[in-house]
């Protein structure tokens, strides 16, 4: 299920021109990408995740609805698929067979910032049953609920049992960990799935984001998922911090608060205020880099009122200086969220440029 698509929609022509002019004999594979404008086709329903390797200029598109759990190969963290609203609830019992419903259970979601220590399954224990909401498909249909229990782990396998809440369709599987950073597993299809490409710097993906009030703040009137803790999917750019990607952010309007009012001051700003052209490698250090996976995150995108119109403001005045997995420095900014053949939302376009000393 892995597609490699190279989309050079727009190469900064001068750089390309000089590159070819200087040395025609150099094999292209040896050369790193000096800059490009790319459109990541996530789809209007955010059905695909797009992994980006900046130095190769390669985008890899992966369908979202293929896995639920991802096991860290060299550690104990377990991620859930935040791109389709997978959620975890912990029953009071430790007896797997006693778990028959999710009534009165509170679901939790992986933190949208990609922090491995803030996943829904952070601090998980063997032989503790969990209830998992398998999330939604591309049309928002619920995919169902299962229960699972991790019975044992070794450095190469995770032993997991899972079943429907009524106990039917019980499976007992030893998931073999693969050679990447994470091993992705589908409880729906009972198989491991290849998701992440070998080399990537950032991924454009949907993440589950809470809208409205947190249930904790509402006391007894809280009905999770109904009047609080409602999660929706939102496009985000998550960096591969696991492999050391860091980001310095230049935001000329960092003092302005984000706002969905089209008339708000921040929504009046344009690309003309961008420092993209001036920023160099030294600014990476001056500004200070963050190793947070959501250092880019959703900061470049703002939906405007009325939300039903689906009009987004792209904060193209923000420039991100990215140190990629290979140690190259790139400056990057988002230009549009709408794009593709039918000019739809879910097709973020960004441009980036290699920074040299």
């Amino acid at each position: 299920m892995r597609k490699h698509i190279t989309l050079f929609l727009y190469l900064l022509s001068t750089l390309l021109f000089f590159g070819c002019d200087n040395d025609d004999d150099v094999e292209p594979t040896d050369e790193i990408e000096t800059g490009a404008t790319l459109t990541a086709a996530m789809g209007s329903d955010l059905v695909d995740q797009v992994y980006i390797d900046l130095s190769e200029g390669v985008m890899t598109s992966v369908a979202v609805n293929t896995w639920e759990l991802a096991f860290e190969n060299n550690g104990s963290a377990i991620k859930t698929n935040s791109a389709k609203k997978v959620a975890i609830a912990i029953p009071a019992t430790t007896d797997f067979d006693e778990v028959t419903s999710d009534d009165d259970l509170v679901y939790s979601y992986d933190s949208s910032d990609g922090d491995l220590s803030a996943t829904a399954l952070d601090g998980w224990e063997t032989n503790q049953p969990y209830v998992i909401d398998l999330g939604v498909d591309e049309n928002g249909n619920a995919l169902g609920i299962k229960k699972f229990i991790i019975t044992a782990t070794t450095s190469t396998t995770v032993s997991i049992q899972y079943a429907e809440l009524d106990g039917s369709d019980a499976q007992s599987v030893d998931v073999e960990l693969d050679g990447g950073d994470f091993t992705f597993y589908s409880l729906i299809n009972s198989q491991t799935v290849e998701v992440e490409p070998a080399n990537w710097d950032l991924v454009l993906t949907a993440v589950s984001v809470r809208t409205g009030a947190p249930c904790a703040a509402m006391g007894s009137s809280a009905v999770p998922g109904v009047n609080c803790d409602i999660y929706r999917l939102s496009a985000s750019a998550i960096t591969n911090t696991y492999q050391g990607v860091q980001v310095a952010v230049d935001n000329p309007f960092s003092e302005l608060e984000e706002d969905d009012d089209p008339e708000a001051e921040i929504n009046q700003q344009s690309i003309d205020s961008s420092n993209f052209d001036e920023l160099g490698i030294s600014d990476y250090n001056t500004i200070g880099a963050s190793s947070s996976a959501d250092a880019i995150g959703r900061t470049w995108l703002q939906i405007l009122e009325p939300h039903s119109s689906g009009v987004y403001k792209v904060y193209d005045f923000i420039t991100y200086i990215v140190k990629d997995v290979d140690g190259n420095y790139y400056k990057l900014r988002f230009l549009a969220y709408k794009g593709g053949d039918n000019a739809e939302n879910g097709y973020p376009t960004f441009e980036y440029e290699l920074l040299t000393e």
């Binding site: 498909d137 039903s308 689906g310 039918n342 000019a343």
Partner: protein, 782 residues
């Protein structure tokens, strides 16, 4: 010239001349053969005492059939030996009955029919009748009014009418709300032929052009016995122009309105003995209007092409009419452009979604009406009405001005609706004299189909209604007329027995009409009608699904059953010399069970799997348990012979039902139509004013809480003046519309449905496109 009487011409002049000649010959013959004594009847105009020439006098009693015409001195010579009762009628004047005693010369003064009491109306009655004789209260808007208002289409014309509201939607157009009841419950007829409604389930009144219209008749309340399904809230009958035998003309007109409307039309008519043929066409161009200056317009730009033709053949005492009218409309709904990366040019740009609509409307009719023999009248109406709309979505790069077709299949579709109707009516009665018992029997067949992209592919799209009806008009004494009527209804889709007439389990719809004349100047009308409407093809099988919409029909819908009571009175009097006053109060009550409305789908989990749960617009049709509207209207009319005419009106409308737990929401209306004809310069000034009070829509949400949405009050005022030049060859009208410059009116509240359900707009409603100026010039050669 007094153009308020354009229709009065009817068969007027020509018939009068011929009859006059005949009468003179007869008179001469009579004079020669007999040396009898004559009783002289002199007919004068009540206003200026001038003799009226060619007035028809005929005997009241059928057995002693006789007739006379007045001569140039307004005198008729009657050779009678015993007292007789005669009817004196003259076009444009009120008909009078009088007893003539032999030997006593009589002078009769005829009042001018300024109130239009003797004007012919056809809607609701089984045979053509007059305004004053009709059992129904028929509101008439004639060609003169259409001209004075500068109305391009039906929406413009009905804008300032009492008890009517026009609601505008950018894509669906202008729809009508009558007696507080919207949409499919209003029936629209063209020359009595039902017209299929359009994409929105409502009629888009802006698709009905006024350039070929002689008058519009409106009857409020159900005419279900006469016209079957749909006619619950009321009926609008558009009467197209008809030309007389031996009449030939070429007429062309041009219209400009400063908002950006440019219309031209041409009409040709040629008449021979017993035959007339007419044809016409036009082009209407509208630039569109956006109150906010945004690219997306509240009134979308459109171009309409119109064509119509009519052939009328007079055979013995029957009229056979074949006609069609066709409209093609190209319109474009522009989207708001927003920042996007253009994959075609690989440039950052501004891209909008634009929807291109091609709409076509066709109405064809074959009508046979007239007397088969004395006292036997028939009216057979066969018609077809077709509506077709195709939509294509383009992506428009507004910076580089390039556009391309969307690759998404669901963005394009073509949908068509067709209605075939055949209605036959036979009336037995003295239709010439409008007296005695009338017995009516008739049938109606209606076949409705739909097909295309917006109709469910598995739909059984034949929704057919069949009806047999009968009515009996009984005069009781000279003052009271009663007409009970029944319609037996059959539908291929629904068990019509649920109508359950008088608990008999019979599918019979009743109506009762009553008219009581206290005297010539005061009458009362009462009507009761039961309405029945089966869900339309659209309401059952509509399917509009794209990235932003999920609007679907509901096959579980139940038919609507309604009851309407209407009580009205009309009082007329003359004040001093030459001023007529009339006052007409009316009250109505309508109650509809199972009213079908478009409602929001609140529980998104009920949407099918392949529909995104977060689709912005999710709607379906549902039955509302009960809906009621109660109203009071007071209309006045003051007409003075110095050229002043005033029509003030006041209306109260209260709406309620199960959606409001029977709490009533009331709104008020006021209007004033006034005109002043200045004879010396032959210019007519017109003013049209309407106050629209706050109107509240109410609906229950999923928790049973009543949400209300209130449209704020506003006033509209139009002004125009009209004049004919070059001996009537040229007729011009010019004026200003919407002098108060009303554009958007705000909506307040948290209601979830009603007037705005279909658009999803929240904070305002586009009412008008602001102040404009218009001029219309018509040139006619006879």
């Amino acid at each position: 010239m007094n153009f308020m009487k354009v229709n009065n011409a009817l068969s007027g002049l020509w018939t009068r001349k011929v009859l006059m000649i005949v009468c003179f010959i007869l008179t001469v013959c009579v004079l020669k053969v007999s040396a009898q004594e004559y009783t002289i009847v002199t007919v004068l105009s009540a206003q200026d005492k001038a003799p009226l020439v060619g007035v028809t006098l005929h005997t009241f009693d059928e057995s002693k059939k006789n007739g006379w015409l007045t001569d140039t001195e307004g005198k008729a010579y009657l050779a009678i030996t015993e007292p007789i009762k005669i009817t004196i009628s003259y076009i444009g004047y009120l008909t009078v009955e009088k007893e003539i005693v032999p030997g006593e010369s009589t002078e009769i003064k005829l009042e001018e029919d300024v109130l239009g009491l003797d004007e012919v109306v056809v809607t609701g009655s089984f045979t053509p009748t007059t305004s004053s004789q009709s059992l129904h209260k028929v509101k008439k808007i004639d060609a003169a009014m259409i001209e004075a208002k500068g109305s391009v289409n039906l929406a413009d014309l009905l804008q300032t009418q009492l008890n009517l509201k026009i609601i505008q939607d950018d894509v669906l157009g202008s729809r009508v709300v009558m007696q507080g009841i919207s949409g499919p419950n209003v029936k629209i007829l063209i020359d009595g032929v039902p017209v299929v409604n359009g994409s929105g389930g409502n009629f888009d009144l802006s698709q009905f052009n006024m350039n070929n219209v002689e008058r519009v008749e409106i009857v409020e309340g159900p005419l279900s016995v006469q016209y079957g399904t749909n006619a619950l809230a009321g009926t609008i009958n558009i009467i197209t122009k008809s030309y007389q035998e031996n009449e030939s003309l070429v007429s062309t007109s041009a219209y400009y309105e400063s908002v950006g409307q440019y219309n031209v039309d041409l009409a040709l008519a040629k008449g021979w003995k017993n035959l007339s043929i007419s044809a016409g066409g036009g082009r209407n161009d509208f630039d569109g209007y956006s109150s906010t200056g945004e690219r997306s317009e509240d009134w979308i730009p459109r171009t309409q092409y119109l064509a119509n033709a009519k052939i009328k053949y007079h055979f013995k005492s029957l009229d056979i009419t074949g006609s069609f009218d066709q409209m093609w409309q190209n319109s474009t709904s522009h989207g708001e452009a927003s920042s996007a990366f253009n994959s075609k040019t690989s440039k950052l740009s501004q891209i909008a979604d634009d929807h291109y609509f091609n709409t076509s409307r066709f109405n064809g009719a074959l009508i046979v009406n007239g007397a088969l023999a004395d006292k036997h009248y028939i009216n057979i109406v066969n018609g077809v009405s077709k509506y077709n709309q195709s939509k294509q979505k383009y992506l428009q790069d507004v910076v580089d001005d390039i556009k391309w077709l969307s690759t998404e299949v669901s963005d394009h579709d073509t949908t068509g609706f067709v209605t075939w109707t055949s209605r036959g009516t036979y009336v037995y009665g003295n239709t010439k004299k409008n007296s005695g018992i009338y017995l009516t029997a008739g049938y109606e067949l209606s076949n409705n189909t739909a097909e295309g992209g917006k109709i469910r592919s598995d739909a059984d799209v034949n929704v057919n209604d069949y009806g047999l009806f009968t009515a009996l008009e009984i005069p009781i004494g000279t003052r009271l007329k009663i007409q009970p009527a029944l319609r037996y209804t059959y539908s291929n889709k629904y068990d019509t027995k649920e109508i359950n007439f008088l608990d008999s389990k019979l599918p019979i719809l009743p109506s009762l009409n009553l008219k009581y004349n206290i005297n010539q100047n005061l009458d009362f009308r009462f009507s009761y009608g039961q309405g029945y409407r089966t869900p339309s093809v659209r309401e059952l099988y509509y399917e509009f699904i794209d990235a932003n919409h999920y609007i679907v029909g509901n096959t579980e819908l139940q038919p609507e059953i309604g009851h309407n009571f209407n009580f009205s009175s009309s009082w007329r009097t003359a004040i001093g010399s030459g001023t007529s006053v009339s006052i007409s109060p009316s009250v109505f009550l309508t109650s509809i069970d199972n009213k079908i409305e478009l409602v929001r789908i609140i529980d998104r989990e009920t949407l099918p799997e392949d529909v995104p749960k977060n689709v912005p617009v999710a709607r379906t049709y549902a039955n509302i348990k009960n809906f009621k509207s109660i109203g009071f209207n007071l209309n006045g009319e003051i007409i003075s012979n110095n050229g002043i005419r005033l029509n003030p009106g006041f209306g109260v409308l209260s709406r309620s039902g199960s959606e409001s737990d029977n709490e009533f929401y009331t709104s008020y209306e006021l209007n004033l139509n006034a005109s002043y004809f200045i004879k010396p310069i032959e210019v007519k000034f017109n003013i049209f004013y309407k106050y629209n009070g706050k109107i509240t829509e109410f609906a229950k949400d999923e928790d049973g809480e009543i949400g209300i949405l209130t449209l704020e009050q506003y006033n509209t005022l139009d002004f125009s003046l009209s004049k004919s030049l070059l001996k009537g060859k040229v007729f011009t009208s010019l004026g200003a519309k919407n002098l108060f410059n009303v554009t958007d009116i705000s909506l307040v509240g948290d209601g979830s449905k009603g007037l705005v359900t279909q658009t999803g707009r929240e904070s305002y409603y586009p009412i008008s496109w602001g102040r404009t100026f218009f001029i219309k010039i018509n040139y006619t050669i006879h």
